[in-house]
Amino acid sequence: MAADGARQWWIRPAIRLGAAALLPVAVPAVITGLIWALPGDPASLICPPEICSGTEQLAARWNLDQGPVHFFLSWLSDAASGDFGKSWRIQQGSPVTPLLLTAIPHTAALVGLALSLLLAGALGAATRVLPARADSLLSAVGLIPTVVMSLAAAAAVSINYGASAFDAEAVRVKILLGALALGLADSALAGAARGVRSIFESERQRRYVQMGILRGEGVLSNAWPNAAPAIAGQMRARTLHLLSGAVVVEVVLQIEGLGDLLWSGTLAQDFGVVLAATFGFALLSGSLLLAQAAVEIAVAMHVRRSPPVREVAA
């Protein structure tokens, strides 16, 4: 059974690599399908016939006149050259690329900071620097939903900055407080600490780690290769959780990020913006899948290169 598992080590990384390659194509394809699935002509979403004339010319100008496949393929080829199309409603006719270029750094900073909080918690749990009794406190804090934590952060910004809440300094504070809210709310930090602690505590009980300790080696260096795939999986799930929460944090704190852009696009049925924002999220999600697959492959290679442990017959 274990030998089968060892032989089939490549299946999960292969699924992840396949999904990573598929996501950035599949997500815009689904959104394109959605545009044509909605009742009415897609061009009427840009400008309803009640207030617009010349819908046919409009459809031709926006590449909507030759069906979903043509629209999708031309959008994808433009996207490959860095042109993500135009906004349909929010800033009608303006290119979406500058909006994305403004949004991505804010989201990256927000999620990056929140993720570093989670990584610190995970490292603390793995090394027992963060004691197990802290888990109850983190879990209690983690019951608070992201929207409530974000509101508290927004209140703090509003009280301290008032009308100048969009100054560079205030934006930095918003991102910092937003990251704190994102990291603590909805059990993000609690889940990361608990999950990593559970993995490392079960590894600590294994004989190879105990032997390593007797030889004077560290626990982490011994347990890491075995724990790495599970931790990579957990961290990917946590990062996705942070990206999901980023939508709420960005809207409440008025941070011009990818989540805020997606939310505005969804509310306004601006498919130009929704396509680009979901494509951005799909790329990020695909990169996370690639990273997890890379960790799994590296660990599998390490295991194959290491001398096999042979059981000695009693």
Binding site: R12, I15, R16, A19, L23, V27, V30, I31, L34, A37, L38, P39, L143, I144, P145, T146, V147, V148, L151, A154, A155, S158, I159, D186, A237, L240, H241, L243, S244, G245, A246, V247, V248, V251, V252, G259, L262, W263, S264, T266, L267, Q269, V274, T278, F281, A282, S285, G286, L289
Partner: protein
Amino acid sequence: MTRGRWLLALLALVFAASWVVPGFFAEPHLPDPDLMKRLAPPSEMPPFGADDRGRPLLNYALQGAQVVGIPALVAGLLVALLGVVGGLLATVGGGRVEGAVAAVGELLGALPRMVVVLVVALLVPRDARGLMPIALTWAILAAPGAMDEAAAVAGRLGGAAFVEALRAHGFSRSRILLYHVVGLNLRPVVVRQGAETMMQVVFLEIALSYLAIAERQGSFTHSDDIHSWASLLDLGYKVVLDLPSWHALGLGLGLIAMVAVTAVTASAAARAR
């Protein structure tokens, strides 16, 4: 200890039900404004005070319960049910199905859930807005995790070997699966997963409605003439603008705490033996 946990969970459930059930009989519209009672505190307009137009906050709380009640329950039950299926598959040795579930879970879980939810929200026509499609989407996205965890629990039991061992003791297959596997071993996992999903759906509704209020738009989760618990948070948040709406903030946060406590106590009670 065990009896205490059950009692606590029962109290929390009864308390939560005392909000949700009357919600279904709540008036579809808020009463007419009475500006004389604007932001009246609970002492002047029991039990929770009034909003900025003098309408009772009790109506907000009941309408909000109506919005989340059934969809959260259905989502929680769906996740719990699929968790049981995942656990049973691991017990009866459905290796291929398990593999397929893991692969589907991998693909479903590859995107941030909020992104998927917003795409689903785009699909729902404006006049058919409601929390149910979003809650079901959330449940489907949460189900692979629940199935995985339940399968791990069943795997620790010994999977198919556990069933065979109990069969050798003379137990019937259905008793082993329903009582020993589901009732005694999967119960803590599936109840916790179900309770967490219910809580997440309620919090998701509050978040989506709050974001819509922040942008002065209608919510995806309910029609415009109904108010979500997010309206209480929105009104309460205005204390930052020196509006005396602490009572709305307290009620909004209290309702959120009630949902969280109910989910936690239900999970704890299911864990108790």
